[in-house]
């Protein structure tokens, strides 16, 4: 149902594939593109399923595997590293009890690395779904994660 709505919001032209995929990812609670959706998209745009797959697998913001409701992205580039005096990654890993690239059992959180998110002037920074959190301290990270755990962003 929601997929049809997304498909209809764009002209039927294959160059909108990436836009469509990003919209689906955003709408789905577990942020992934399913096999059925790939078939529907390819039929709608008149392109091969393999082409849709190649696009999904090329771009790191997209996934064919179910992920958590909240995707926590930790910046792993130099400007954040230089300002990270408490180890952001370890802190988040400890709070969620998972390692990077894992999803929590309750499907609520997925922990990923990201390339620079352009918040280097307020480093260190992380991104949770569409929100960036900057100028992080250990306490701040713990509070942010506990807010999400308690459902304050649900």
């Amino acid at each position: 149902m929601f997929l049809q709505k997304i498909l209809e919001s764009y002209p039927i032209s294959e160059d909108y594939l990436l836009e469509i995929l990003l919209d689906i990812d955003k709408q789905k609670e577990n942020h992934y593109i399913s096999k059925e959706e790939i078939t529907l998209i390819s039929n709608h745009l008149g392109i091969k399923e393999s082409h849709v797959c190649s696009v999904v697998s090329f771009y790191t913001l997209l996934s064919t595997n179910p992920r958590g409701k909240y995707i926590i992205q930790i910046c792993k580039d130099v400007p954040c590293y230089l300002n990270d005096d408490f180890n952001v990654l370890k802190t988040v890993e400890n709070e969620l009890n998972i390692r990077v690239n894992d999803t929590t059992r309750n499907q609520k959180f997925t922990l990923e690395y990201t390339a620079c998110i352009g918040c280097c002037d307020e480093a260190p920074a992380i991104r949770i779904n569409n929100i960036t959190y900057t100028n992080l301290t250990k306490d701040k990270v713990v509070n942010i994660i506990s807010d999400y755990k308690e459902g304050k962003h649900d």
Binding site: E14, L21, Y59, L82, A115, C116, G118, C120
Partner: protein, 421 residues
């Protein structure tokens, strides 16, 4: 005054979501003036300004524009807002704090070159920039700055957003074009260049966000006046993303010709906790790493040529003495190994091998042979890859081989010592 505020003059003074604020602050005024000029006059002003592209490659803007203007038929303008180079955030600020300035620059380019459609390609991670630009485009349509017969003229122009989805390579012009077409972002073989065959194989003019933002400024004061700002090598102002271990990280606008040291000391307030500068990386992960002794160099592309590098998009990443060179190189190489598109062999395979070699240096198990392999591999990747990613990814290694040779030699000696135990 070391700064010169031109492109950032409306920052924090207007509500970026309000076209009225922009209009009250001289917004679209230059575009209205441009509508009374012809293509040659406009491109001539831009040629007089001697402005070069602000995305990293530093190519003269007017040459690209005039060759694009000569193309006929359907043509596209693309604004490259896929700012993914670590350490850079200027384009995000330009979009989030003065979005209509970007649109005004795109409009000037489109009108002067006869393009009828444009795309702003924004990286998917920049959610806020996407929302703000999307809103601004809507407002511009409502007020007839976009659409048919703009402001009653014969000029019509459509503009839409395309989002990236987390691929650094899409900042490369042909990878970006592929991505706009809904494909994986893998580059194409040049020539033909985008100005001849770009989006949907039609002539396409691609410029960086900051480049577009310079156009209203150039046409407001005139190309001649503009060319007086800056140094003998580069004209205008440059947005500098200053990060790392400095007291005042942030975005600064300075005329070309300021030295790196001035930016770090005066604007950045020096290094945090009174430590010494260990290294400075220029441009981002694809830029040179230089020692403190070279900081009196001007910010412009000509001077940077001495280490086969460019100023890039304007990042200055300051690292204090406590950081290890090889840890930094490891971060850089992990980045490129992840971001290579895999199309050409030296880039796809080379980065894996370079990463393995750097890991040996990090773990104190590097030999003289490892060093020689690293040096030759870095040169091969630099010289043989298809696009800018691999051509620049080795700059941090090649520059440190030149400027931090002793660190490499010492690490090899220490590795031997460690092996002995």
């Amino acid at each position: 005054m070391i700064e010169q505020i031109e492109l950032t003059k409306r920052f924090n003074k207007i509500d970026p979501q309000s076209i009225n604020d922009f209009l009250e602050f001289d917004g679209y005024k230059v575009f209205k003036k441009v509508l009374t000029m012809n293509s040659n006059e406009i491109i001539n002003e831009i040629a007089l300004s001697k402005i070069t592209g602000r995305g990293g490659a530093g190519f003269p803007v007017s040459i690209k524009m005039s060759s694009f203007a000569n193309e006929t038929g359907v043509k596209y303008i693309v604004c490259n807002a896929d700012e993914g180079e670590p350490g850079n955030f200027k384009d995000r600020y330009l979009m989030e704090k003065d979005p209509h300035q970007v649109i005004e620059g795109i409009l000037i380019s489109a009108y002067s070159t006869g393009a009828s459609k444009g795309f702003i390609y924004i990286r998917g991670e920049y959610s806020k920039s996407i929302d703000i630009i999307r809103h601004s485009i809507k407002e511009a349509y409502k007020n007839n700055y976009l659409g048919d017969n703009i402001l009653g003229s014969n000029f019509s122009f459509e503009l839409e957003i395309r989002r990236g989805a987390g691929a650094y390579i899409c900042g490369e012009e042909f990878a970006l074009i592929e991505s706009i077409e809904g494909k994986p972002g893998r580059t194409r073989v040049k020539p033909p260049f985008p100005t001849q065959q770009g989006v949907f194989n039609k002539p396409t003019l691609i410029n960086n966000v900051e480049t577009f933002c310079n156009l209203p400024f150039i046409l407001r004061i005139g190309g001649n006046e503009y060319s007086k700002i800056g140094s003998e090598y580069a004209t205008g102002t440059k947005l500098i993303s200053l990060t790392g271990n400095v007291n005042n990280k942030g975005l600064y606008e300075v005329p070309y010709g300021r030295t790196i040291r001035e930016v770090i000391e005066i604007l950045g307030g020096g290094v945090k906790d009174n430590k010494e500068i260990g290294m400075v990386q220029l441009g981002g992960a694809c830029g040179a790493i230089i020692p403190e002794s070279l900081l009196d160099m001007d910010i412009d592309n000509e001077k940077f040529a001495i280490f086969d590098s460019k100023m890039g998009a304007g990042a200055i990443i300051v690292m204090d003495e406590s950081f290890d060179l090889f840890d930094i190189l490891l971060k850089n190489m992990e980045f490129f190994q992840h971001e290579t598109c895999g199309k050409c062999m030296p880039c796809r395979e080379g980065h894996i091998q370079v990463l393995n070699l750097i890991k040996k240096f990090v773990r104190y198990s590097a030999t003289k042979d490892d060093y020689l392999s690293l040096e030759s591999l870095a040169n091969v990747i630099h010289e043989t890859t298809l696009c800018g990613l691999g051509q620049t990814s080795m700059t941090s290694i090649l520059s440190t081989i030149k400027f931090f040779q002793e660190e490499y030699q010492q690490r090899i000696r220490e590795s031997l010592f460690k092996e002995g135990y």
